[in-house]
């Protein structure tokens, strides 16, 4: 307890849980009370955001270099494993806390308008509140188990919300796919937890990170395996190669859900986990290289797929995967603060882009195919302008948010590995290309909207446009918290995160490989910035040429290289390969087991046992009928026959009994009379 507002850290998750309980109750009892649901659903989030700001300012006022850990109650007291329910307040968790509650509040407000007509309105807000609760548990948890509860919980909510419109089988399938892919990652997380406990004897962040440098050999096998398993968890949650395929399918859920869960918060949990365990990753150069390599590859791979998608949300989904790849590239090269910085700015502009696409879909009565859009700039101006702001931000045009964060990652990567930098650099150009392709196809050019839809195009209500505008402002100015020193700023964000990132690596004798590389000169930094701005502009120019000036060109290009076109359009057949390698093999196993069940278990086991039982019972019946019953009947018959003479005496007639009595008396008298006579003689 610190005696300041930091003690209120339990309040944001508790509020979200309260919202879930109330909205869940309403969903079950009065699903039509939409006003009440809106007030509760968005209200608890705004209150949680207010509490978060209070905690943040109080913590900044403390000038604490050490995390504040608040223990509430003992959870798993088993021998040496002492798991407490505890929340940790430090720079890293505060950043996530503000992002989750802040962006979450805006998305809740947006949802009020977007989901207004939905019959499952109360259920939707209940799930959304529950998601925020688990997400806050994830980012605030002071130990791996508490974090894991949140980690699993957000997976559950993601599943529930992807399959929110469960009447359509495709949505339910997408939900299952996301859940199962995440389980594969969770397996990695759990194995990593077991190994951490095994090697350090604790699961509390503080204890683990204090003991790790002594308990584990830096660069040794154990720490490498631990971090690789942790990263497997990250690839599941944050949709990286090889577990990324669930995220595009997750677009089956409502668009605000895509914005909150599958863009701004949940999918960044993996980046947060790597940042949280940056000490472990710093001790395992191989794992860090894997993180960076996988991040870079995912970034490029997803960006190329995004080039050929027609569904507006699918483009954004692949864009999200690509941007998450950037973040992993950042944290993998040791630039933890750069990765976290991109996480924040991405939360702003990707939430904006998703909500903007939701607004477009809303205006077009549910149309998601960009081939049936176009020329919407004048019809839905607020959406279009805010969307453009988000697009410029993600493309990396200065001085918007994406420029600073992406440039910081690319700069740090260049120090570390020019090869990875090149991949990131190409991806930056592709990002600008596919995003402007989306913007040009949606808002400019010729209208390809269906006639009956065209009459109903309307700008979204205030509750949707206001969050868009706020996010647009954040997308523009959000990057200024990390204004780099080379451009006359002070990069306040990096300094803010220093206690959780730099201090740890300096207090240990092991020097993080990222920090070991000498900082490059200002000229290189300017050059890199110029290069990334230029490639972004090239991407935009290319998009303009292809989709505004000569709309026929893309078709011609596709016709020239049909195989390339088909491979990209079918997303490199990854889904098909996974189906062939794992899904269908699992189904085959199921079929084989089914045959085994029918043939062996049912036929031989169950039917055989039944036959055996019937046979033995037949034997038993025969024995019972002829031997046991026969003996009983025989005994009865013997008694019956033997008793025949006795029975004949029992006539039931008084006279016969009396006659017998008299005869008896006469016989007795005669006998004794005879004896007396003999004695007297």
């Amino acid at each position: 307890m610190t005696g300041t507002a930091v003690d209120l850290i339990w309040l944001p998750p508790a509020l979200a849980l309260l919202g879930f309980v109330l909205n869940g109750t309403l969903a079950l009892t009065r699903p039509t009370a939409k006003t009440l649901v809106s007030v509760i659903g968005a209200g608890v989030l705004l209150a949680a955001f207010a509490a978060s700001i209070a905690v943040f300012s109080a913590f900044v006022g403390l000038h604490a270099d050490e995390p504040v850990v608040l223990r509430y109650w003992s959870w798993i007291p088993v021998g040496t494993l002492q798991g407490d329910v505890a929340l940790q307040v430090d720079q890293l968790s505060l950043v996530m806390l503000l992002v989750v509650t802040g962006v979450g509040s805006l998305i809740h407000l947006f949802s009020i308008g977007y989901m207004k007509e939905d019959p499952g309105y109360a259920r939707y807000f209940a799930y959304l509140n529950l998601f925020v609760f688990f997400m806050l548990v994830l980012v605030l948890g002071a130990s791996f188990p508490v974090m894991f509860v949140g980690w699993e919980g957000v997976g559950l909510c993601s599943y529930l919300l992807i399959g929110f419109w469960y009447n359509d089988a495709a949505n339910a399938t997408a939900g299952r796919k996301a859940f199962i892919m995440n389980r594969i990652g969770d397996f990695g997380f759990m194995v990593a937890m077991f190994m951490i406990f095994w090697s350090t004897g604790s699961l509390d962040f503080g204890t683990v990170f204090t003991h790790a440098p002594n308990a584990l050999a830096a660069g040794g096998r154990t720490v490498t395996v631990i971090t690789l398993f942790l990263f497997l968890g990250c690839t599941g949650k944050s949709a990286q190669i090889p577990l990324y395929t669930w995220l595009p399918d997750a677009m089956a859920g409502p668009t605000p859900v895509s914005a909150l869960i599958h863009a701004a918060t949940m999918v960044t949990a993996g980046v947060y986990l790597v940042a949280r365990c940056n000490l472990l990753f710093a001790m395992a150069p191989v794992s860090s290289a894997v993180v960076a390599g996988v991040g870079a590859l995912t970034a490029l791979f997803a960006a190329t797929i995004a080039l050929k998608q027609w569904d507006i949300k699918k483009v954004l989904a692949y864009s999200t995967i690509s941007q998450l790849g950037y973040m992993f590239l950042g944290v993998g090269t040791g630039a933890i603060s750069a990765g976290m910085f991109h996480l924040i700015t991405h939360a702003f502009f990707k939430a904006l882009l998703f909500l903007g696409s939701g607004s477009v879909i809303h205006a077009l009565s549910g149309e998601q195919d960009m081939r049936k859009m176009g020329a919407l700039w004048a019809k839905i101006p607020t959406t279009a302008k805010t969307f453009l702001a988000g697009t410029l931000a993600i493309a990396g045009i200065p001085p918007l948010a994406g420029f600073f964060s992406k440039d910081e990652i690319l700069g740090k990567t260049f120090e570390h590995s020019p090869g990875l930098w090149l991949i990131g650099f190409i991806t930056a150009g592709l990002t600008a290309l596919y995003m402007f392709r989306l913007v040009f196809m949606t808002f400019f050019g010729r209208s390809r909207v269906d006639h009956e839809v065209e009459h109903h195009i309307h700008e979204s209500p205030k509750t949707m446009t206001v969050p868009l505008m706020i996010l647009a402002v954040l997308s523009v100015i959000g990057g200024w918290i990390g204004w780099p020193a080379a451009l006359g700023g002070s990069n306040r964000f990096e300094h803010f995160l220093e206690p959780v990132v730099a201090a740890r690596s300096s207090e240990n004798s092991w020097s993080a490989h990222g920090a070991a590389v000498a900082s490059h000169s200002a000229e290189t930094e300017y050059g890199l910035m110029l290069a990334s701005v230029l490639i972004a502009l090239v991407g935009i120019w290319l998009a303009y040429q292809l989709y505004i000036k000569n709309p026929a060109t893309p078709g011609k290009l596709a016709a020239s290289w049909p195989w390339l076109y088909r491979i990209v359009y079918r997303k490199y057949y990854v889904d098909e390969i996974y189906d062939a390698m794992f899904v269908n093999r699992a189904k085959d196993l199921g079929t084989a087991l089914g045959v085994f069940d029918a043939r062996i278990v049912d036929r031989l086991g169950v039917d055989g046992t039944g036959w055996l039982t019937r046979f033995t019972s037949d034997v038993s019946i025969w024995w019972d009928k002829w031997i046991v019953d026969g003996l009983v009947n025989f005994a009865g018959r013997v008694v019956q026959i033997a008793s025949y003479p006795v029975r004949m005496l029992q006539t039931g007639l008084f006279s016969s009994y009396a006659l017998l009595i008299v005869l008896g008396v006469i016989i007795l008298l005669g006998y004794y009379g005879h004896r007396v006579m003999q004695l007297l003689r």
């Binding site: 029975r647 029992q650 006539t651 039931g652 007639l653 008084f654 006279s655 009396a658 006659l659 008299v662």
Partner: protein, 99 residues
């Protein structure tokens, strides 16, 4: 002496009583035969009392009391049986026989 004729008469009466009980079917007649046997015994008691002391005469009174009680109970039973079966013939009274 008077003793032998008295004993002879009582023996005849008793035999008549036994024969009646054994061979008659009517319950009232059987009942009367039982009384006859009792009174035959009474005559024997009285006859022997002349030579063997007064005990026999006293016992006759006990027998007459028992016979009176027996008459009350026996007639009631016969009446009850008649109400139940509309007959006093012993042949109808064979409940003790199986089947």
């Amino acid at each position: 002496m008077l003793l032998s004729p008295a004993l002879f008469i009582s023996a005849v009466l008793f035999t008549l009583g036994v024969a009646g009980v054994l061979f008659r079917r009517n319950a009232i007649v059987i009942f009367m035969c039982v009384e006859l046997m009792l009174n035959a015994v009474n005559l024997t008691f009285v006859a022997l009392a002349q030579s063997l002391g007064m005990g026999g005469q006293v016992f006759v009174f006990f027998v007459m009391a028992v016979a009176a009680a027996e008459a009350a109970v026996g007639l009631a039973i016969i009446l009850a049986v008649y109400r139940h079966k509309q007959s006093v013939s012993l042949q109808t009274m064979n409940l003790l026989k199986d089947g």
